[in-house]
Symmetry: C2
Subunit: 344 residues, 2 copies
Amino acid sequence: MKYRIGLDISGGDNAPVEILRGAHLAQKETGQHIVLIGREPEIKQEAQRLRIPLAGGFTVIHAPEKIEMAESPAVSVRRKKKSSIAIGVKLLKERKIDAFVSCGNTGAVVCASTLYLGMIKGVERPGIALMVPTERGVSLVIDVGANIGPKPMHLFQYGIMGGVYYQLVFDTPDPSVGLLNIGEEETKGSEFVKYVHKLFSSSPLNFIGNLEAKQLFSGNCECIVADGYIGNIALKVAESCAEVFGHFLKDSIRRDPFAQIGMLLARHSLKRFKRMIDYAEYGGAPLLGVDGVVIIGHGRSSARAVKNAVQAASRELNRGINSEIKRRVNEICQNCRAGETSSS
Amino acid sequence: MKYRIGLDISGGDNAPVEILRGAHLAQKETGQHIVLIGREPEIKQEAQRLRIPLAGGFTVIHAPEKIEMAESPAVSVRRKKKSSIAIGVKLLKERKIDAFVSCGNTGAVVCASTLYLGMIKGVERPGIALMVPTERGVSLVIDVGANIGPKPMHLFQYGIMGGVYYQLVFDTPDPSVGLLNIGEEETKGSEFVKYVHKLFSSSPLNFIGNLEAKQLFSGNCECIVADGYIGNIALKVAESCAEVFGHFLKDSIRRDPFAQIGMLLARHSLKRFKRMIDYAEYGGAPLLGVDGVVIIGHGRSSARAVKNAVQAASRELNRGINSEIKRRVNEICQNCRAGETSSS
């Protein structure tokens, strides 16, 4: 199917150049129509400099304001109505684009999406779903930072939404769902986590219980549910490790000529290894729960990461994730909502 | 100084063999007197088999019961009064040993220590301080799992205690203290974290603000304060990463003969690299705040890790950490306690 994918050209550490390069790659490889949202003069000038022909596969939408990475999400979304993020999400709301991809301020994307698109009927809060490489393939972790003070029902719904996504995108019937906790036994953790465990245990989901953080990359569980605060920290620790190990390794071989020759011989394998642990391979992270397809890219996204994020958006549209989320959440939560007191 | 270091022989995944081997190593290298606490017949039999002469450097104390790794801490400590953990902590309380080292059930060690030793006057809750390798040396992270529902004052005191430890053990005047959070700005995170930020900001500590998890191994901060739940997850993610990267790397070079030769050439550097990220290098983690020197070793501790944990205990005793903690906590908290409502 051919879709109109909106792309935030102002967001991300490498904006606008890498984002534009990514748009070009995505347009060539996926054939989707890319709607470039950002400062029009800058987009046109950079496109010319990079020799990217804008005729045909692209539309440019002028968004003069830019939300910086460190700005307060709630404040900036309300104040900067002409930012690329606000305009992109509004275009999605008006069905002028089919999906919106941004590598900009994550909090602002979450905030604008919740504000302008609203939630899928029955869903209480959005969650960011991240694909992580594991020893057996890919696992999905939800939430990694959209909701830093979740209620039990939010986590429960993350399990439903993540399961739907995993099932439809990776063609896996009845994916396993686990809960990130400090121990495997159901008696472990805070009262909060124990209550969430109970919600999952009495649901029709394929719930396999608590998972310790050391199992995060084991591939033992397909959909891992986490408190957004903890999920965010877990994810950043993993990134930090990848970086620091690289430094340590380099440090350790720098003064060893044998090791240097060794690394030269192993360079193809090392490249393959690097690709395995590179976030860019796994595209952006879908913001599940909002009433529209929104993909959040990594702030440091390269052109390839941007292209993969656009592909993630098309995949989500092709598989009809949101209508299935609506169906499943309402089917499953009908029963359990009676026992739950508060909602938003 | 010569001390009597109590060692839990029943605790840990590799007990009793690796623990005994570690005791032997520690006795030879540090000259400390090691008090072996566990099942006496088993200790004597294994020592004979391993050709470890018990005369002279060791005392054996019979503790017939064993707390398993998966047992509930509170329940097992109360029920198994003759476990190696309960007996070890009681020996410390009675000043029959100077420090206690265990690689057993972490929760049970925390629970028994709090119950039998009590807290250092003025300290509200104990915290586990872990040394982590960074790009510039070693950072201390406190708490990594003793207290999974901390109050703001607990975290504040972790900052004081961790700072004292870092200062005295690593000879660093006025070490920097940071707060693990999902963003660097002081407006980031939950109300809880913001309040802790305020406590630190108005204290005499060398507080450098919030730290994101991606800076955990950067070495930018000497003492990193974390909620025990989050600290525990961060630590386990890091361990998991180290493991998974190893698997990925092996996978990636397995079918590449050039890479295999390369790795052979680089083997000395790879070994050095492995040592850099090996927890065993950094000894056990002190349980700070309880009225006695308690060191918690990793469950998977090897003999070398056990030896390093015993060394960590002697270091703590030599530097008089606990009396300095008492002095500093009471000096600093006198002012701020007026503003804090609850304590235990």
